[in-house]
Symmetry: C4
Subunit: 359 residues, 4 copies
């Protein structure tokens, strides 16, 4: 293993440990506290008939849920990925891998990723590669026989960490090229700072299949770097940088008609219901799932089952018997989220005034 890879690998371990043991979340909220679903005293549906399954990029998920990328490439990642795969298999949710770069540059680490396909033959598995290493895209897909590839954008973290790669020229062009070359759909995802209307449009035009907003409000990579660095100053200053997830979800949904994954600070099925009613197709989580994975797949499964139940309660209470109906439920957007959206030119009133089944 050459020096560079070792460094990366250790850094990724450090990340895991910090995320596990420190408060690495944004101080600013994801924005869902400003979203209010409207209670229906007359749901007119039966809760036990609610269907939360979705078709996502051609495959069926039992629940509109994706485990989003959690760094791999270390011995410990083998264990984590194995637990995640077992959970994904059992619950029928999508499983996004952490960045595969380390394993491509260092094939002896491949086993830490390939384990997921071994465990979960039929799961919807998403490969992952940073935008600076798109050259590895094909290999990443092949390594795990991925159903889709996620290209992650993390300019914030790269800018904060001393070793960061901050060459972003022609990123779009590179993404466009990969989209053409790959046989599987390409998802572009942020990692905790969100995606704005303008970038969503650009991505759509390059042919990406889906966008994972990964907005501000959950894991903050500036926060992580603040803990890592001897000089925590930059990490602290940019701790809260980014577009809150609820806002980013609207910005992206207003810009494109491809599937949208809401993530970044999503923590409950109630958050998910709000995100989906705002326009997301499915939601994603990383931090809470990672924490459960340390205690084994049963914890992950039970977390996802709780999530499903929470989501179903919200759907029952707004009278939505499936995810498509949930998307049409009225909701009220308030506070800072409303203020942002107004300034940016998005009509918030239409969400509050639409109505399910004309009821």
């Amino acid at each position: 293993m050459e020096e560079g890879v070792k460094l990366t690998s250790n850094r990724k371990l450090e990340h895991l440990i910090l995320c596990l043991c420190r408060d690495v979340e944004h101080k600013k909220k994801s924005g869902f506290q400003d979203i209010e679903l409207i209670h229906r005293a007359l749901p007119e549906i039966n809760k036990d008939e609610i269907d939360i399954s979705v078709n996502f990029l051609g495959k069926k998920l039992e629940s509109p849920f994706m485990i989003t990328g959690i760094t791999g490439g270390h011995e410990i990642s083998y264990k984590i990925n194995k637990e995640l795969a077992k959970a994904a298999k059992a619950t029928g949710v999508a499983l996004g891998l952490g960045s595969q770069r380390v394993a491509i540059e260092n094939p002896e680490l491949e086993y830490t990723y390939t384990i997921v396909r071994e465990v979960a033959e039929d799961a919807f598995i998403i490969g992952n590669i940073g935008v600076s290493h798109v050259k590895y895209a094909k290999k990443a897909v092949e390594m795990v026989d991925a159903d889709a590839l996620a290209i992650h954008l993390n300019p914030l973290q790269e800018a904060i960490q001393p070793e960061g790669i901050t060459h972003s020229k022609k990123t779009l062009e590179k993404i466009g090229k990969i989209v053409k070359e790959l046989d599987v759909p390409v998802i572009v995802k942020e990692t905790g700072a969100g995606i704005c209307y303008e970038d969503a449009k650009l991505l759509k035009n390059k042919g990406v299949a889906a966008i994972d907003v990964a907005g501000a409000g959950g894991t903050s990579w500036s926060a992580v770097e603040a803990y890592r660095s001897k000089n925590s100053h930059l990490g602290k200053l940019y701790w809260d940088w980014g577009i809150p997830t609820a806002i980013s979800t609207v910005e992206v949904r207003e810009a494109v008609d491809i599937p949208v994954i809401a993530s970044g600070g999503i923590r409950t099925g109630l958050d998910a219901a709000k995100a989906i009613a705002l326009g997301a197709d499915i939601v994603g989580m990383a931090l809470p799932i990672m924490k459960k994975a340390f205690f084994g797949y049963k914890e992950v499964i039970s977390f996802i089952e709780n999530f499903n139940e929470e989501l179903k309660i919200a759907m029952y209470l707004v009278g939505a018997k499936n995810i498509e109906e949930l998307k049409k439920c009225p909701l009220v957007i308030r506070g800072k989220v409303r203020e942002w959206l107004h300034e940016r030119g998005f009509d918030t009133k239409k969400y509050a005034r639409r109505s399910l089944h004309g009821r």
Copy 2:
């Protein structure tokens, strides 16, 4: 007594005790703190001539006040209902019973309800049955010679509690049928999560005689279930679910022209004045009344007398000599309530700009 009934009965006792001893109220407010009545330095009325009586569904109430349903069917409910009946008789307010299902399924418990009619021959008494048990509607009315029947909707509590009935299909149809079958007016009420514009319209179309909004801001049945459950997780997540009472009052009033009962977190005559100026005909309370009832009817009477005095002071200070005038007083809607109503398309300015007697 068969097993199922015993269970219910115990659950209801648990409810009573939790409501008595724990903080079971919403953390979010009822919304009346965002409503400001406009002080008249020149009331131009005499306070001692203020008339707070109302005609409600054909009967006269001495005060625009309803004790709303408090669970019955347990030995202790006999005692509580007796005290409530004495108080209702003495003060001339309406008395809503708790759910009568348990006594219908289990006739030896009837006496815990029938006591109210024995004590208060002429009071306005409202029977009560959950929407899942409307088949009992007729019996419920007959049991206490009820002046009206309240059908309660509580999808939230049913969804949170493990034993909950969450079959809500065709609820509306069932309500419509009952309305036709009964000789007495049917009131539909929520139980702490509120009723929205859409549901109010649907209920009106089915012929219900009045709507009790029972919005968020007072007793939270999620909270109650959070205390009951070993796994308090769902109850906590949904603790604050629902439409705040002040908002729900406007939503319902804007939708229908039948009588509206504002309840859910109403605690004083000042809250009541605001609710009525927002469009309610009368207000209701459960939790504070229940707490007083434990100490006997005198406490309940004195609470209602205080309420009346508080209400009269508000009316005096806005120059309204009766409830009809109070409904026309200008008021200012602010903060979160205003934000919600704007988003939903309701004009708040009209409340602030209307004027009593063109003064």
Copy 3:
């Protein structure tokens, strides 16, 4: 001295002591914290040439300041009124007396009021009588050779205190009659709950010469009664009732073109500058002046001199060389005050966009 008068007299003493020793102010603010005068880096005036004198109801005041009515009729009032008169004489501000009813019903107490005219022969002295005792109006004026008579409205306090007079029918008619009968101008004042647009219009139509808004934000008579009463419940509930002074100032100014006195929670010359820029002609204070008066007229004088200096600094910083110019200075209305005024239909933007000397 008959029983009734003794009672009043003691009550008034109680009031004084509570105002001196307890926190009797509204918890809600007077609204001036939501008003922002706009700093002029280029005042283009000399501070030492600023003229804060005003003509008020035909007499010149050295400063736009009125000591507003502080209860009299007790031995101790003699002392207080004497100190106030000395201070008013020395500083050239207007001096409002407390209610003279007790001295009219009980002539041996007259000396507690007449002292002011003895001490301050030329001061602008305002007699005072409650609206329920307007029959005493003429006597009140004669007693102190008053330059004007203030009729005070205090429906809130009357409603809260057990002994209160809450007969407000035909109040307006009575005021109209007094206005016609008296030779001196009639000021109508509230006592801490404010005056709204509607009432200001009505008062103007009856010919009153000036309105003292006495809004919410300063002394709360509900608070005082909460301390006095064994049962503090009503006083606490209505502690914060009323129209905040900043709002009331705009409501009254928008309604009428007669002089407006802003009072109720005015505490500094900076508050005064804001009130005058909002439309007041002069400001008034009771509580802070009363507290100083206990320590002698020198304290009162020094308080007023401080006030004058504070006011001049504000005027200097907005470039207003006299009170008329101050009235034309732009200011920004924010927060709750702006929200209220918008709802009520008053244009707040015009204040922010007007400009002094077209500069």
Copy 4:
């Protein structure tokens, strides 16, 4: 040294020490917390190619940064000015001197200023004189061979301090005259209370070359005077007087097309990025620089380098490869800043909806 000068000199020393050891900043914020730059997940630039240099009044600065005037004229100022000059030389930022009046009235103190030109022959150095002493303008420029002269306005401090000069008549005329007489460009600056739209227009019309807003949110001269004065009352009352810097930046930018310096509470490169995106050309700081200067020029240099890095990160994350591009980046204006700007008639939405490169 005559008495008057000694007094000034001591006062200035007092100022330095208070600024060093006490909390002299506004309690109200500079407003930048209400400004949100919009994250670009796709910066499409390389961070290491970002150019933060600017042309300012004809000279190139390596960074859009000015050390703004810090009082001089005392022995200790010699030391501070020397350190500042070394830092300015090393980093290529502009260096504003403190008021030169004391050295003009007292030539033996000249060395405390001339040291800056000795050390930093090529730096952009700005002379400084109060608006009350513009007669010294020419001498001030000559003393240090200044590239520009800053005339400072500080009516607030003058009004608060007992020894203050509050003669502001014809200030504009004087400024106009100086502008004509001097060969170097004239910058007019406030000192912590900001400049409004109206004053910016007036200054522009008099031919000033640039405006330094020096708004509220950073050093408060009222605060400083509150500490100095035995009677801290006025200083405390006016502690927070002034136009917040973010607001003042917009007001001035909307009024004029000459260069704008945003200062007053600017503390980081992130604040600077926001200020520039709002319309400033460069930013200025006094307090934080002064504190570093006490520890030597290396500390100042390292502070400025940090600032540069912070600024570059913000620029990278919004995809701006130079300062001109940064000015065109969209941003969202919220909260109190938005409220103020709306009331004053400035369109905030245009900032949120503009877009860089049509992207």
